[in-house]
Symmetry: C2
């Protein structure tokens, strides 16, 4: 096959699921694709009109799914690999590039592109205010692809240095005790009154968001569709404001006198 017959592969993220939170560039790629490749549940979230064939696969077959997408592109397709959220954050972009790394002579000349999307932690943060307004970490609690010891080391480091911490994949049927252990580690560094936000199916039908404290986190319902943001020592809850403005992490930290104090605007108010 000559090089000009080779196709293209775009790895895209549709965001949390709402069509108005999906980038126009991503929507355009999906609309004009010949083939969509993805985990079946994510392909079902695609509401954009497209004549593309849908290649649905199960979870945990990322290597095979990546190779299929690359093969379809090498055959001349305009192939789109669909992740939810951002494909670059615990999603398909890394899995596909890993195939290119392992097979250096294969799929040469396929045009390859990753397009970003809104990841779950951003979507959850936006729903409650600005908990990620200061330095933060993003950690997957799944020990399927990394040793649990590494996860503990990262939780300790992040909690010890007072980062806000976003937790992905907090629990599943196959990982029953890990979440409790993670909360125990965090509680060793943070006050039990530390604000915590728990979001399930953020940006999707059935969205459920709670603002609670670290002391109550073990009582929350947690599963693979949940993302959690644990505040730092400076994160604050505003009890008398609506959900959209209920939690934030201030931009300034421990400087004593505020270097940029409130200046009421000059605009006349009622």
């Amino acid at each position: 096959m000559s090089a000009d017959q080779l196709g293209s592969l775009a790895i895209v993220g549709i965001g949390p699921g709402r069509s108005d939170w999906c980038l126009p560039d991503v929507a355009e790629r999906i609309a004009s694709a010949t083939d969509l490749v993805g985990y079946a549940r994510y392909l079902d979230l695609v509401s954009i009109e497209t004549a593309a064939r849908r290649h649905r696969s199960g979870n945990r077959v990322e290597a095979n799914r990546s190779a299929l997408a690359l093969d379809l592109a090498a055959d001349g397709g305009r192939v789109v690999v669909v992740s939810s959220g951002d494909p670059g954050v615990f999603a398909m972009a890394s899995a596909v590039v890993e195939q290119l790394d392992r097979w250096p002579d294969r799929w040469c000349g396929v045009r390859f592109e990753v397009l970003p999307g809104i990841t779950a932690a951003q979507a959850l943060a936006s729903r409650v205010g600005a908990p990620l307004g200061h330095d933060f970490c993003v950690i997957s609690l799944s020990d399927v692809l990394k040793p649990w010891e590494l996860i503990e080391r990262r939780l300790e480091a992040a909690a010890g240095a007072d980062f806000v911490i976003a937790l992905y994949n907090p629990a599943s049927r196959h990982r029953p005790w890990q979440f409790g252990r993670a909360v125990e580690l965090l509680a060793g560094h943070r006050d039990s009154a530390t604000p915590v936000i728990v979001g399930r199916d953020v940006g999707r039908p059935g969205e459920h968001i709670s603002v609670l404290t670290l002391g109550d986190l073990l009582d929350a319902e947690i599963d693979m569709r949940t993302v959690i943001i644990v505040g730092s020592s400076t994160t604050r809850i505003l009890p008398d404001r609506p959900l959209g403005a209920s939690v934030y992490t201030p931009r300034s930290y421990g400087l004593g006198a505020d270097p940029n104090p409130t200046v009421p605007s000059n605009h006349a108010t009622a």
Copy 2:
């Protein structure tokens, strides 16, 4: 003024600047706004057609800008505060919620909402492959609003626990030595061959992206429009692939035998 005359305030992020990387929901708010409030340089990036008045302000007047936006909304406006990137990540969402926190009895009844956007680290990551494919941290190197000692502590913690690290606000005219010190700290934990990605004006005219190593980072041109991603010990460079597939952090980490090996697809290839 009665409650039903109160307006609304949306804090939005337009992403890196490209109109096709701005959420449809954000574009719609800007198009239908009565007032846009923001740092002048970000308002200039707004290419969406709108009849809104533009309230341009300088950098570092976030408190005053926030109060102005809230006042305009309290007067009945459909006000949109415009950030670049994601308004929840080192941007205006935290500044506005802080005003609501400081003045608990003011601006009650204004409808308040934060909409997410693509932040610079995501945009940069997507340009080169998948460097954020595993656990990562996001740290601002600006010590204008936090003590430099905290930044050092966080860099040490993140590097010590082998996180991928995204660095925002790496340098400015007023902070001449901090970047060098940060690189020195990271070099104490990471090999000099560690992959590093440097992006300037990502997603904007004049975009410039380089893939280099930690050992060469001090020679790179760095300023406030630059964002940097420093790989972990597992991040890899693919020298023979184009820029879009040149760096990734594998999904699995230090488990010995790959739990999910490459399975060539069943699809026939040329």
